[in-house]
C-alpha cells in the first residue's frame, strides 16, 4: 500500500540529508509504527507519504514513494487526498471549519462526494468515534482528546486507504489516548485501513503495531522489522521492554498481558524485597499552600475548593483528564488567575497580588509550550535577558543551560532548537532567579526517552537541593519515576492526594507499566527493580 524505494530527502537549506536509503513497504491493513529519537526525521517520513514532503516543504527528494500505486512525484497532496488522510501533531492547526459536523464533511466536499453519501458517512463516523453528542459543538470548545478524535474523523470520512498520524496521543491523557488507539485498532482490523504512525510514548502504542520502522539517527537508513525484534535493539523503548530486557525474557513481551505471563519468576525473586522508597519528607518548609481554592474561568468553575500543600524538597505530580484543571491550578500558583474564593500562598507571598519581578524569585513556571517564554533571537541573548530579569549575576543562566544540557549552541534561534533543548532553555531561564518553587506543565510532551531521563535526573537533583516541584503531566511513567506524591484532579476537584505508590497502584488508568506487570507488589519503575536485583543478586 505504501512503498518507499531508495528514498533520500534533503531540506533546501541544510547540507545533511534528513532521510537516506529508506526502503519500506507497508502492506494493506497494517499498523506500522515509526520510532526513533526526536529530530530524526519521523515527521519528514510521514510527510513524504502524504506528498507534503516535498511538494509543500520544498527540498530535494530522490527515489520513489508510491501510495496505492500513485507516485507522489507526479501527484500533489490534493490529488492524494482521497487515498491518504493525514493528521499532524497539533489538531488545532488542522481544522478548516468551526463546527464538528462541518469539519467531518469538509474533506468530502472538496472531493465532490454526493450529498447523500456525505450525510451517511458523517453519521457513521460520528458513531465510530463516539462524537455523536458533539456534532453541533464549535471545535474551539472541545477538549484535547475530543479534538484529536475530530481530526481523525475528518480524514476518515473520505475513506482513505492510508491514515498517517504524527504523535496522535502525545497531548492526551491516558484515557483519551486509549480511546484514540481503540479507534485505530478498529480501523485496521475491521476496515483494512493501513495506518502509519509516529509516536514517542511507545508504552501506549507498541503492542498494537504489526511492523516497526526504527530511525536510529538522522540520515541513517531505517531498521525495519517485527516489533519485538526491533524493540530488542531500539535505543527508545517502553518500560515493559526495559523490564523484559532486564529479566532476559524471550520472546520479548510488548504488552502487559504477555509480560505478566513471563513475569512469574521475577515476581518470586522480588517477593522478599521491597522497593527502596525515600518516603515523603514531612520536615521541609511549607512552600505552597492553597486552601479551599476556587477559580472561575468564564462561567465555569475550573477549580472547586482545592486544597494543596507542597513542602521544600517534595515533588508532586498533578494528574487528571484533559481539562481537569491542572494548568489552571499551576497558573493560579503564579498569579495568572485571581481566585474567586479561598486562599493561596506561594513562598510566603500571595501570587496574584505580588509584582511579577518579585514573584519571579519565589516561584517559576515552565508553561506547556516552552516557546512562549522565549522572545530573543538567539540562545545567548535569551540568557542575557533572563539574567537581567532575575537581577542575577551575568552568566548565571548560560551556566545553568550548560548544566542542564551541555553543548547547546549560543547563536541559534530558539525556534530552531529541538523540543528537549527548548525545554532545557526555558527551565534554565526560570531557574536563573533561583525560585524555591518550580512548576512544570506537561514537561515531557514531545520528548524522547533520552531527553526524558535527563529531565528526571535533573528534577531529582533540584528536589534534593531543596526545591519544591509541582508538575502537571499525563505521563504515568514520569509521575511514577519522579513524584513523591500524586494529586489527581477531576473536573476541578481533588479526587486523590497521597504518596505515589498508594495513588497510582490503586487506579489502573494511572498505574505505570512496571506496576501492572509486577502487581500486587508495589514496584513502580524499572530502576527500582534494577537496584533491588543489583543489591542482592
Amino acid at each position: 500500500m505504501i512503498r518507499f524505494e531508495q528514498v533520500s530527502f534533503r531540506y533546501a537549506d541544510t547540507a545533511a540529508p534528513a532521510l537516506q536509503g529508506v526502503d519500506i513497504e507497508v502492506p494493506e491493513g497494517e499498523l506500522c509504527l515509526v520510532v526513533g529519537p526526536s529530530g530524526v526525521g519521523k515527521s519528514t517520513l510521514l510527510g513524504a507519504v502524504s506528498g507534503l514532503v516535498p511538494h509543500f516543504t520544498g527540498g530535494h527528494l530522490t527515489g520513489r514513494v508510491t501510495v496505492a500505486g500513485r507516485d507522489t512525484r507526479t501527484h500533489r497532496p490534493r490529488e492524494l487526498a482521497d487515498v491518504v488522510g493525514t493528521v499532524g501533531q497539533d489538531p488545532l492547526s488542522h481544522f478548516v471549519t468551526d463546527t464538528v459536523e462541518d469539519e467531518l464533511a469538509y474533506g468530502m466536499e472538496s472531493l465532490g462526494v454526493a450529498p447523500e453519501t456525505m450525510r451517511r458517512r458523517v453519521e457513521e463516523t460520528l458513531d465510530l468515534l463516539g462524537l455523536a453528542e458533539l456534532r453541533d459543538r464549535p471545535i474551539a470548545t472541545l477538549s484535547g482528546g475530543q479534538q484529536q478524535r475530530v481530526a481523525i474523523g475528518s480524514v476518515l470520512t473520505v475513506h482513505p486507504k492510508v491514515l498517517v498520524l504524527d504523535e496522535p496521543t502525545s497531548a492526551l491523557d491516558p484515557g483519551a489516548a486509549e480511546e484514540v488507539l481503540a479507534v485505530l485498532q478498529r480501523l485496521v482490523h475491521d476496515l483494512g485501513t493501513t495506518v502509519l504512525l509516529a509516536e514517542h510514548r511507545l508504552e501506549r502504542v507498541v503492542q498494537y503495531a504489526d511492523q516497526v520502522v526504527l530511525l536510529p539517527s538522522p540520515g541513517a537508513p531505517p531498521v525495519i522489522g517485527a516489533p519485538a525484534d526491533i524493540m530488542a535493539v531500539s535505543p527508545v523503548h517502553p518500560p515493559v521492554v526495559a523490564l523484559g530486557r532486564l529479566a532476559g525474557w524471550s520472546p520479548l513481551p510488548l504488552s502487559i498481558r504477555d509480560a505478566r505471563r513471563a513475569a512469574g519468576p521475577l515476581r518470586e525473586r522480588l517477593a522478599d524485597r521491597a522497593p527502596e522508597a525515600p518516603g515523603p519528607d514531612a520536615s521541609g518548609e511549607l512552600l505552597v499552600r492553597a486552601e479551599r481554592l476556587t477559580v472561575r474561568r468564564g462561567r465555569t468553575e475550573a477549580l472547586r475548593e482545592v486544597d494543596l500543600s507542597v513542602r521544600a524538597g517534595e515533588t508532586v505530580a498533578l494528574m487528571g483528564r484533559n481539562g481537569a484543571g491542572k494548568s489552571t491550578l499551576l497558573s493560579t500558583l503564579v498569579g495568572l488567575h485571581t481566585p474567586a474564593g479561598g486562599t493561596v500562598t506561594v513562598g510566603g507571598a500571595v501570587p496574584h497580588r505580588t509584582r511579577p519581578a518579585d514573584l519571579l524569585r519565589r516561584v517559576g513556571l515552565v508553561p506547556q509550550e516552552p516557546r512562549d517564554l522565549l522572545y530573543a533571537d538567539t540562545v545567548a541573548a535569551e540568557c542575557t535577558a533572563a539574567d537581567r530579569d532575575a537581577a542575577a549575576e551575568p552568566g548565571t543562566c548560560r551556566a545553568l543551560v550548560e548544566d542542564l544540557l551541555p553543548g547547546m549552541p549560543d547563536d541559534v534561534h530558539p525556534r530552531d532548537l529541538s523540543e528537549g533543548q527548548r525545554l532545557s532553555l526555558a527551565l534554565a531561564i526560570v531557574l536563573a532567579a533561583s525560585p524555591p518553587v518550580l512548576l512544570l506543565d506537561e514537561p515531557t510532551r514531545g520528548l524522547d526517552y533520552a531527553a526524558k531521563s535527563r529531565l528526571v535526573g535533573l528534577l531529582r537533583s533540584l528536589a534534593a537541593a531543596g526545591h519544591a516541584i509541582v508538575l502537571a503531566t499525563h505521563d504515568v511513567e514520569l509521575a511514577a519515576d519522579l513524584a513523591d506524591r500524586v494529586v489527581i484532579l477531576a473536573d476541578g476537584d481533588v479526587v486523590a492526594d497521597g504518596p505515589t505508590p498508594d495513588v497510582v497502584l490503586s487506579s489502573p488508568a494511572f498505574a505505570p507499566q512496571t506496576a501492572k506487570i509486577l502487581a500486587p507488589s508495589p514496584w513502580l519503575t524499572v530502576t527500582q527493580v534494577t537496584r533491588a536485583l543489583e543489591a542482592a543478586p
Binding site: 502492506p27 494493506e28 491493513g29 507534503l52 500533489r76 497532496p77 490534493r78 487526498a81 499532524g88 497539533d90 492547526s93 488542522h94 478548516v96 468551526d98 459536523e101 464533511a105 468530502m108 466536499e109 472538496s110 465532490g112 454526493a114 450529498p115 456525505m118 451517511r120 453519521e123 457513521e124 458513531d127 463516539g130 456534532r135 464549535p138 474551539a140 480524514v155 473520505v158 484515557g175 480511546e179 481503540a182 479507534v183 478498529r186 475491521d190 483494512g192 503492542q207 498494537y208 522489522g225 517485527a226 516489533p227 519485538a228 520472546p251 510488548l254 504488552s255 498481558r257 495568572l336 519571579l360 517559576g364 508553561p367 512562549d372 517564554l373 522565549l374 535577558a385 532575575a390 526560570v430
Partner: protein, 439 residues
C-alpha cells in the same frame, strides 16, 4: 473507554459497505501478527466474529446488536437541519433591512427602538457558539463611534447654527491656511444634538451588522456562494478566524511575560509580544495551508479548453460591462448622454458575469454538505427585515418631518406611531426562528 464500548456494537457494521475487498493482509507480509497474540485477541475479538463485509448501512441486521447509545445513523437521512438553523442569508437580509431602516431616519427614538429590536432578537435567538459573542464587540464599537462623533463635534465645532450655548472651550488660533477649521470655541446644544443623532445612526448600523454576525455563522453563508467563488470564500473565512486566534495568542504571551518577571501591562509589553505573536500566526497559517492541501483544497476537475476560455471571456467581459454600465448610470445618467446605454449595459454585463461564474463552477468538483434550507422560517425572518426597510422608505415620503426632525430649532423628539409600529415588525424572528441549539 465506556463511551467507546457503547458505540462499538453497531458501528463496524455500519461501515461494512465501505470496503468490498477482502480484509486480510497481503501475501509476503513479513511481520506476521501472530507473534504477538496478547493484545490482538483481547478486546476486539467480538468484532471479528460479527464482521460482515457486505452488509449495507442501516440494514435490518443492525437490530440484532444491542442498540448503542447515540446512533443517529438509525434515523432516515435528513438533507436539511430543521429546527437548528435558519438560512444564514435570511439573517443577513433581516439585519440589512433593519440597517436600511436605520439609515433612513435620524429620529433618536426610532433609532433606539431599532437597536432594541435587534438586541432583543439576538438575546432571544443566539447560540453559545464563539461567533455569537461578537454582538458585544459590535455594541461596544457602536458606543465608541458615538463617543468619538460627539467628541469631534465638541472639539472641532460644527457648522450647525445654534443659539443655546452649553459651554465655551478656549479656542486655539489656527494659521490662515487652516481656514474653515476651528479648534475649541462655543459648543451649542444644537450641534451636540446633531452629532448625537448622526452618531446614533452609525452605531445602529453597526449593531445591526453585529446582530447578523452573532445570529448567523459567517462560515455558513459560504455554503450559498457559487462554486467558483467557494475556495476564495474559504480563504476569507479562515483569514477572519485568525483575529480571535491572535487575541488568544497575545493573552497567552502576555501571561508568559509575567512568568519572566516583566510587567504584562502597557504598550511596551504589547509591542514586545508582537513579533512572537506574528511568528506564531505565520507558522499556524503554514500548518493550516498544508493541512488544507492534504485534504483536497483546490482540487480541480478537468474541463475542456473551450469551456475554460469561455469562462474567462464571460467573466472579464461581464465585469467590464458592469463597470461601464454603472458609470453610465451614475456619472452620465443625469445629463442624458449615458442613460440610454447605462442600464442595458449593466444588465448584459451582469448576465455575462453570472454565466461566467456558473461555467467556472464546473472546474470545481465540490459538493455541499447539508446546505441550509430556505424554508418558511427563512422567508419570515428575511421578510420581516425587508418589511421594516420598505415601511421606513415609504414613511420618508409620507412623514419626512417625523423621521428626520430638524436639529434647529431644538425640539423634543416625538415617536411617530406608524413607523414605530413598523419597526416592531423586526421582532418577528424572535418568535419565528428556532431557538439556539447549543444550550
Amino acid at each position: 473507554m465506556t463511551g467507546q464500548d457503547d458505540t462499538q456494537g453497531g458501528a463496524p457494521k455500519g461501515r461494512g459497505e465501505l470496503r468490498d475487498k477482502p480484509q486480510r493482509r497481503e501475501e509476503g507480509n513479513t511481520t506476521a501478527s501472530g507473534t504477538h497474540p496478547g493484545v490482538r485477541g483481547t478486546a476486539r475479538a467480538t468484532h471479528h466474529g460479527e464482521k460482515v463485509a457486505h452488509q449495507p448501512h442501516m440494514a435490518p441486521g443492525r437490530a440484532a446488536a444491542p442498540e448503542p447509545r447515540g446512533i443517529h445513523g438509525a434515523e432516515p437521512p435528513r438533507t436539511a437541519r430543521p429546527g437548528v438553523h435558519v438560512h444564514a442569508g435570511a439573517w443577513w437580509i433581516w439585519a440589512l433591512g433593519l440597517a436600511t431602516a436605520a439609515s433612513r431616519t435620524t429620529n433618536v427614538l426610532l433609532l433606539a427602538l431599532l437597536t432594541a429590536v435587534a438586541g432583543y432578537v439576538v438575546a432571544a435567538r443566539r447560540t453559545d457558539a464563539p461567533w455569537s459573542r461578537s454582538y458585544g464587540t459590535f455594541l461596544r464599537l457602536g458606543v465608541a463611534v458615538l463617543a468619538i462623533r460627539l467628541l469631534f463635534a465638541v472639539v472641532l465645532g460644527s457648522p450647525i447654527p445654534g443659539t443655546h450655548t452649553l459651554f465655551t472651550l478656549p479656542e486655539v488660533p489656527l494659521p490662515g491656511w487652516a481656514q474653515g477649521v476651528r479648534l475649541g470655541g462655543r459648543v451649542t446644544a444644537e450641534s451636540v444634538v446633531f452629532a448625537l443623532r448622526d452618531g446614533m445612526k452609525l452605531a445602529t448600523l453597526l449593531v445591526c451588522v453585529g446582530a447578523a454576525n452573532s445570529l448567523a455563522n459567517p462560515a455558513r453563508l459560504l455554503k450559498s456562494l457559487p462554486g467558483a467563488l467557494y475556495e476564495a470564500g474559504v480563504a476569507v473565512v479562515v483569514a477572519m478566524t485568525f483575529a480571535p486566534h491572535l487575541v488568544a495568542d497575545v493573552a497567552r504571551l502576555r501571561a508568559a511575560r509575567r512568568l519572566r518577571g516583566r510587567d504584562d501591562r502597557g504598550v511596551r509589553a504589547l509591542l514586545q509580544v508582537g513579533l512572537p505573536v506574528l511568528e506564531g500566526a505565520l507558522e499556524r497559517s503554514v500548518a493550516l495551508a498544508a493541512a488544507m492541501d492534504a485534504r483536497g483544497y483546490g482540487r480541480t476537475a478537468n474541463v475542456a479548453p473551450a469551456v475554460r476560455r469561455a469562462t474567462a471571456a464571460l467573466t472579464v467581459g461581464g465585469l467590464l460591462g458592469i463597470c461601464a454600465g454603472t458609470y453610465g448610470l451614475l456619472a452620465a445618467g443625469g445629463s442624458g448622454v449615458g442613460a440610454g446605454y447605462g442600464l442595458p449595459l449593466l444588465l448584459v454585463g451582469l448576465a455575462a458575469a453570472v454565466a461566467g461564474l456558473r461555467l467556472g463552477g464546473r472546474r470545481s468538483p465540490r459538493t455541499r454538505y447539508r446546505p441550509d434550507p430556505w424554508g418558511a422560517r427563512a422567508w419570515l425572518v428575511a421578510g420581516s427585515g425587508a418589511a421594516v426597510a420598505a415601511a421606513m422608505i415609504a414613511a420618508t415620503a409620507y412623514a419626512p418631518a417625523a423621521l428626520d426632525p430638524p436639529a434647529v430649532p431644538l425640539a423634543e423628539p416625538t415617536l411617530p406611531l406608524w413607523p414605530a409600529a413598523c419597526v416592531l415588525l423586526g421582532l418577528v424572528p424572535a418568535v419565528a426562528a428556532p431557538r439556539g441549539a447549543l444550550r
